[in-house]
């Protein structure tokens, strides 16, 4: 996937072509994605892996597959044109992590510290 800087005549003058990839690139991405997807479904269904390790393995496989999609399908690269996209992506990942893990930690704390409904009802009697 060499980043080409050639232009075509009906594009704006001097515009370097946004790296569009090649069909080989898409094919490599597809193969990686298929392997990772099948691995995820296998991990979720097998008894060969120690139970508590399964969610961690699933998370690793999912993040790897998201990376494959970003690189081979969305063409996020370290090219100069793509620098702003990467910075925005980093901020997006930060917000997503904050929202998801923040909510989960707060709600787990509330669940642990608050009395359950039936107990609360008993106290009122």
């Amino acid at each position: 996937m060499a980043e080409s800087i050639e232009t075509t005549e009906d594009q704006e003058a001097g515009a370097p072509r946004v790296a569009g990839g090649s069909w080989q690139g898409y094919l490599i991405g597809l193969v990686f994605a298929i392997i990772l997807t099948l691995a995820s479904f296998w991990v979720a269904g097998t008894d060969m892996i120690w139970g508590p390790g399964v969610p961690i393995l699933l998370a690793v496989l999912a993040i790897a597959q998201m990376g494959v999609h970003l690189v081979f399908f969305l063409h996020i690269s370290s090219a100069p044109d793509s620098l702003n996209n990467i910075l925005a992506l980093a901020f997006g990942v930060f917000v997503v992590a904050l929202v998801v893990f923040g909510s989960m930690i707060i709600m787990a704390n509330l669940n642990a510290n608050m009395m359950s409904m039936p107990e609360l009802m008993n106290m009122q009697r």
């Binding site: 001097g14 370097p16 298929i34 997807t37 969610p55 999912a62 997503v96 998801v100 989960m104």
Partner: protein, 206 residues
């Protein structure tokens, strides 16, 4: 000397402050990328809600009772294949080849429509068997998360139809090419969200 005749290393030598505004393609892709990221933040909120509520079944059916993994694997394969054909479509568009672009676009549309159809039939079966979104907090979160993804895919299908019409009436002019590029970004991003959905919702079912 026009900028288009510069080699890559020559472009690198021009200081950043003297290169002028970024080309329109780059700006449009960046703006749409920001939209996609904010869309993913919406999904993050829905994922968080699902993760918090996934055990609150209120005595109703849990994920283990409801989800059919072979069906989900098929849905995943269909969406992944449509992502691939969407990539091939954008390659054909880059080369201004109308017939291959339209064919791959049609395949992408059919695969996407099949995916939405499978999702709708799954929803229908669940609601019929009394596991609708009103049954428990878990099911409300499930229908909101997966339904929002399905709505996005449906919107993408509609967008693809509009792009068919624009390519046929306006041809491959720069404006249409930018929209097609944004469409393929949107379609690939939906596939990324689906990775989260099948991992957390369907495979993480306890």
């Amino acid at each position: 000397m026009s900028a288009s005749s510069l080699t890559h290393s020559e472009v690198r030598e021009i200081p950043l402050s003297e290169r002028g505004p970024a080309p329109r393609n780059v700006v449009v892709s960046f703006g749409f990328w920001l939209f996609l990221l904010s869309d993913i933040v919406i999904f993050a909120a829905l994922f968080a809600a699902f993760a918090v509520l996934s055990h609150e079944t209120a005595g109703g059916p849990s994920g283990d009772d409801l989800f059919d993994r072979s069906r989900v694997l098929l849905e995943t394969a269909i969406l992944l294949a449509s992502s691939f054909t969407c990539g091939l479509m954008s390659l054909a568009v880059e080369q201004r080849k109308l017939i291959p672009a339209a064919s791959w676009g049609a395949v992408t549309f059919l695969l996407g429509a099949t995916f939405v159809g499978m999702e709708l039939s799954e929803f229908h079966g669940m609601i019929e068997s009394g596991a609708g979104p009103d049954r428990s907090a878990f099911l409300s979160a499930f229908f909101t998360l997966v339904g929002t993804h399905g709505l996005h895919v449906s919107a993408g299908l509609f967008w693809l139809l509009v792009m068919f019409a624009q390519v046929l009436t306006l041809g491959f002019r720069p404006m249409v090419l930018r929209r097609l590029r944004c469409f393929s970004l949107f379609w690939h991003a939906l596939d990324i969200v689906w990775i989260g959905v099948f991992t957390i919702v369907y495979l993480g079912a306890h």
